[in-house]
Amino acid sequence: MENDSSYGQVLHLPRRTPSGPRIKADQAGCPALTDIFPLHPFDPSATGFLLSLLPETTRPALWIQDRASRQENGQIYGPSLPAFGMDRPVLQVHVSHPRDVLWAMEEGAACAGLSAVIGEIHGAPAVLDFTATKRLAMRADASGVPVFLIRSGDPGGLSAARERWRVGALPSQPDPLDVQAPGKPHWDADLFRARTRRPGRWRAQYDPDAKRAADRLRLVSRTDDRALEAGDQPIPHRPRA
């Protein structure tokens, strides 16, 4: 992903190549631990955005929800996941306490056979502190499994996440066949902390009809029409050999 595009230009986010179990997370392009904060309550835009970020494999994914986020945001509905390119089985874990979510995420992050670990924690419980995120990030670094943490109803404290996003819904595109119907979803994606690239704010869209799987997530800059600074080079994906 480029750091920030000029206004209005559509960027194609390269979809990740399948990450083998031994490829380190940073090399594969997926950050080790990503925090995603939904902008509005019970807004599943963050979920859709996250699903479009996932690498394409057939290995199962682990999805852990605590009771509060199940009640507040609803349960994941399996039959709708293939619409966002989630063509793999999902191992769902339902727990009642955020402590168990963190424990299960750590276990999952250490398991290289998974394609992704997604945890949901509602509110800002005391157990979800910097240490907990640091442990998760280190586990994910070691195994190479991308780990996502959806933190709804959370003002966002300290975190060791490699990338931190705020994602909310935007009014959808017009439907080409029906004037009054909502069309394809648009999301407001705000990368406000990142370790390996520059933060920015985009208008994101998932395009399931893209010819290549790599073009499915489209990001359009939402920043003002401002010239790039001299010598402002996009930060490369992987370190040059």
């Binding site: 179990p21 031994r22 509005h40 019970f42 807004d43 599943p44 835009s45 979920t47 859709g48 955005f49 699903l51 290995r59 199962p60 682990l62 945001n73 609803g74 349960q75 994941i76 509905y77 399996g78 039959p79 709708s80 996941l81 293939p82 619409a83 966002f84 989630m86 063509d87 793999r88 089985p89 999902v90 191992l91 769902q92 874990v93 339902h94 727990v95 168990d100 424990w103 299960a104 276990e107 999952g108 398991c111 290289a112 056979g113 998974l114 909310g168 819904a169 935007l170 009014p171 959808s172 439907d175 029906d178 009054q180 119907a181 909502p182 979803p185 648009h186 999301w187 998932y206």
Partner: protein, 489 residues
């Protein structure tokens, strides 16, 4: 077998067990009182009840009887090395060379009779040099009869011909021919029997059965092997409170036993025997057979806190209660870890700590109702299924159960233009629908209302999945209510 949780009727009551026959229940087994009163097995229950109105009839537990008999089969190896089931109601023990250990043949039979009586079972016993002879004598001869090679023919002689286990039609045919006993059958010249029966299969062929019963044809015993048992135990010289330091050696011991037998554990049980005579056990299950001591031990993490050691315990057993054959497998040539094995061990750990119903795969079912399309199966029992692709757009998250919304401003045809949900007011800007989902008449209660689903977008872009339950004049209730059922991404 009459249920053990109720008081059994006394011996003076005629009791019959019934099972399902082709034309209603038939009598499966009877007690002695019923036999004395002329009730026969295989008769229909209604007929016997008409003759004996005070007949006490219970339902037979045939599968339970079979399971009990299978356990008795292994238990009876206390007297001999080989034992095998004999049809549905018998056991055959090969006591060749082991009778002297119990003081001779008569004493052996006496011991068997007593031991069965101690379990509340009445055994009819007979001892004969052949399997066919023994089963015929036990069922039709005098109780506890013992015969040798020399008097085998003489003792079998007076028994009825169907004691040889001929099928019904052949037994009836022999009866019509006047060959009512085994002795009469032996006296007929063999060539005469051969003319009639030589080409028939064994259950219709008295020649084969007679030869086997008299020891002129081989009739070997195919005894099943003893069930495998894997248990490591450690007796401690002094009672202790904490089992953890002893677990490692126990697990290693168990895994060595499993490796020797090329088996892997699917279920492991740790039992502590307390000094006050009580015992406590903890059980864990695995997703695939494992004999890795470290993995098995990790499953017990946090589970031992709930075990009350009392004043201490001095005996620990670590037992594999369910095993599956596992041979040494090399999955990959590059020496990397097998990802499937990683996931299986992850499932074990998650399930052992969180519980079996909390860790689940999705399974799909054919249903109109969106909330019934997806069901959950425990991960240790089910296998991951391929994702389901639906023709219509469905919300990415759903609320279970659906939550009711308060409609502020309704439009006659279409979704509410303003509604309140969780105390927040939303204004509809765009909508799609309705999509009508009819109740499943073959499953739902009568009077269930249909649902009209709308995809609704509100001002800030959030997209709801609302439905109206029923419509105004469907005569199935009052004014239809509105529910929010899910959210689109």
């Amino acid at each position: 077998m009459i249920s053990q949780y109720r008081t059994a009727p006394g011996p003076e009551v005629a009791v019959a067990l019934s099972r399902d026959g082709p034309h209603g229940p038939v009598i499966h087994a009877i007690n002695q009182t019923a036999r004395d009163r002329g009730i026969t097995a295989e008769a229909r229950v209604v007929d016997m009840r008409a003759i004996h109105p005070d007949l006490h009839v219970e339902e037979a537990d045939i599968a339970g009887d079979k399971a009990l008999l299978r356990r008795l089969e292994h238990w009876s190896r206390r007297w001999c090395p080989w034992s095998v089931l004999d049809t549905d109601d018998g056991l055959i023990l090969d006591v060749t060379g082991s009778a002297h250990l119990f003081g001779g043949e008569a004493a052996l039979l006496h011991d068997i009779c007593n031991r069965f009586a101690m379990q509340g079972l009445t055994a009819r016993l007979a001892m004969a040099p052949t399997r066919g002879g023994a089963q015929a004598l036990a069922r039709f001869g005098p109780q506890g009869s013992i015969c040798t090679h020399t008097d085998l023919a003489a003792k079998l002689g007076p028994l009825p011909a169907h004691a040889l286990r001929l099928d019904k039609a052949t037994a009836q045919l022999l009866n019509r021919l006047g060959l009512k006993t085994i002795g009469a059958l032996c006296d007929v010249p063999r060539t005469a029997l051969m003319r009639r029966f030589a080409t028939l299969p064994e259950d219709q062929n008295p020649l084969i059965l007679l030869d086997r019963a008299l020891g002129q044809a081989a009739d070997p015993l195919n005894a099943p092997p003893d069930p495998l048992q894997f248990m490591a135990r450690s007796s401690l010289p002094e009672p202790v409170i904490d089992p953890v330091p002893h677990l490692k050696s126990l697990a290693e011991d168990l895994c060595t036993q499993l490796a020797k037998a090329e088996q892997g554990a699917r279920q492991v049980q740790l039992t502590i025997y307390r000094i006050d005579g009580e015992w406590r056990s903890v059980q864990v299950a695995t997703a695939r057979a494992s004999r890795d001591p470290l993995h098995l031990l990790r499953l017990f993490d946090g589970k031992l806190d709930g075990v009350d050691p009392g004043f201490g315990f001095d005996l620990l057993t670590f037992e594999a209660t369910r095993v599956e054959p596992v041979s040494l497998i090399q999955d990959r040539l590059d020496g990397k870890r097998d990802p499937d094995a990683d996931i299986a061990s992850l499932l074990d750990r998650l399930t052992a700590r969180l519980g079996k119903d909390k860790v689940t795969w999705s399974t799909w079912s054919q249903s109109h109702k969106p909330e019934h399309v997806e069901a959950r199966v425990p991960a240790l029992q089910g296998a991951p299924e391929a994702p389901l692709v639906l023709p219509r757009a469905r919300p990415i998250r759903i609320l279970t159960p659906a939550e009711e919304v308060t409609v502020i401003y309704a439009v006659p045809e279409g979704p509410p233009s303003q509604f309140r949900w969780r105390r927040v007011l939303y204004k509809t800007t765009r909508y799609a629908g309705p999509e009508r989902i009819a109740p499943e008449w073959w499953k739902d209660r009568p009077g269930s209302r249909l649902r009209d689903y709308y995809k609704i977008e509100v001002q800030d872009g959030r997209r709801f999945w609302l439905y109206r339950e029923g419509h105004l004049h469907d005569r199935r209730g009052d004014t239809p209510r509105w529910f929010v059922h899910g959210f689109f991404a």
